[in-house]
């Protein structure tokens, strides 16, 4: 028993949870699957007076087609996302990223919303949400609102949600037409956090030109990153004139806060990141072209 003592609250509705969070203030933290939070508490990197367990709120569960997109309840486990036929057909990038989330035992508990609200730059779901322009369905004391993914991730483990906000769900846009998606990561051991990773979505027009593309970067900044400049550079070009290595170089060129640690220098991570983008680009293009 290693975490510091805390008071435990287990609301059954979103309303009750947000009221509790407002009442308890800064000393309270939302507990979802706990697969990131509990290790931090066990190591005493994080200490809270109150935990608000949202694991029994039915409204936070589910995968539903809503307004042309796919809404996934924040409390939905990665294992449920992994097994969902709707996710596989409507948001393939999310389906491809899911097996890379921890190990299967972690995916049985860890939730989509928990990972996104935790905002670890090394995690897969935040990068997928950013790449696909997902919208965060957030409930706060003043009611429900939507935050675009590009306005959501603020820093390492930090989002623009307030302490009394609750992430209720995430809406993923559905791409149609000639699309391809791929996720590539490099980690020293399977299931470890990656040194660098890339999530790529691409859509082609009838003449094999890039109609749109989305490149999300993992472990290459203080937040998940979006390679916007590379995307702008590539859109409109015929795929035969796009060199995957160039896409990789462009994608990492503007990065300013690449982490450096025992596992690799910032320069090395950038090179690995460029290689991951190139590989994911090639796989996504192949899928888009060949169906």
């Amino acid at each position: 028993m290693k975490p510091v003592s805390f008071e435990y609250h287990v609301p059954e509705t979103i309303d009750d949870a947000t009221k509790l969070l407002a009442e308890l203030g800064d000393g309270a933290k939302v507990l979802a699957g706990g697969q990131s939070l509990i290790p931090m508490m066990a190591l005493r990197l994080a200490v809270f007076e109150h935990l608000v367990d949202v694991g029994r709120i039915a409204e936070l569960q589910g995968i539903e087609r809503r307004e042309g997109g796919l809404w996934i309840g924040a409390g939905t486990t990665a294992a449920t996302v992994e097994a969902s036929a709707d996710v596989a057909s409507m948001v393939p990038l999310l389906a491809k990223a899911t097996p890379l989330v921890g190990h299967f035992q972690i995916r049985n508990r860890g939730t989509l919303g928990g990972s996104i609200a935790h905002a670890d730059p090394a995690a897969e779901y935040p990068a997928v949400a950013l790449a696909l322009d997902a919208s965060m369905d957030v409930m706060g004391p003043k009611g429900r609102r939507t935050i675009a993914a590009r306005d959501f991730f603020e820093g390492h483990w930090s989002t623009t949600m307030e302490p009394d906000d609750l992430l209720v769900g995430v809406s993923f846009p559905v791409w149609s037409g000639r699309c391809g998606f791929a996720v590539e990561e490099f980690a020293r051991r399977h299931g470890d956090f990656s040194l660098a990773g890339a999530t790529v979505g691409v859509q082609l027009d009838g003449a094999d030109r890039v109609r749109r593309c989305a490149i999300g970067l993992i472990s290459l900044g203080s937040t998940p990153e979006r390679a916007g400049a590379a995307e702008t550079e590539i859109v409109g070009r015929p795929i035969t004139e796009v060199d995957p290595g160039e896409v990789g170089r462009l994608a990492v060129a503007g990065l300013e806060a690449v982490p450096a640690d025992l596992h690799g220098s910032a320069e090395y991570r950038k090179r690995v990141g460029a290689a991951m983008v190139a590989r994911a680009w090639t796989a996504a293009i192949t899928e888009a072209r060949d169906g």
Binding site: A42, P99, Q105
Partner: protein, 161 residues
């Protein structure tokens, strides 16, 4: 800080206790239920030695508070194999293939593999290795463990407890 009443079914037996919310499911099983087969290695979700089934799903019991598991059905290593000591198919395969040496990590492996073979009765070698990647072994080495899972799968075992 307030204590909370929890009620869990552990290996088919109802267990009630008043616990501090910070008590992990692993400590609940070991200290309150005296089921010390669930081992604690790292206590922060890396090693997998504490893996148990919660409502059928393999999870790290050091990353679940007992209060979160209130009302759940838990199966520990003590609930695997028969009460007279006969080994489960996976346990036998581990013995046959030298899949354990000191045995500390073994309960976690057995529970993880039981869930894995139940859900993937015909795994590829790659799938076996991926499934085992969430459990660490520091003395036996993994070759015998991989072989044991292959043997159990080929013999048609479906993760029977």
């Amino acid at each position: 800080m307030g204590e909370v009443l929890v009620e869990l079914t552990v290996n088919g037996q109802l267990r009630e206790a008043t616990v501090e919310p910070r008590l992990t499911l692993a400590d609940f099983l070991r200290e309150r239920c005296r089921l010390t087969g669930t081992h604690l290695g790292c206590e922060h979700g890396v090693c997998g030695a504490c893996t148990v089934l919660v409502d059928g799903a393999a999870v790290r019991s050091c990353l679940v508070f007992a209060v979160q598991a209130d009302g759940a059905e838990v199966t520990t290593i003590e609930g695997i194999g028969s009460p007279d000591g006969e080994l489960s198919a996976i346990q036998s395969a581990l013995r046959d293939c030298h899949g354990l040496q000191c045995g500390f990590c073994t309960p976690g492996f057995v529970v993880s593999v039981s869930a894995f073979l139940r859900d993937h009765p015909n795994p590829t070698d790659q799938e076996i290795r991926e499934a085992l990647s969430g459990n660490l072994c520091r003395c036996t080495g993994y070759q015998g463990i991989v072989k044991a899972v292959r043997q159990a799968a080929d013999a048609g075992h479906r993760g029977e407890l």
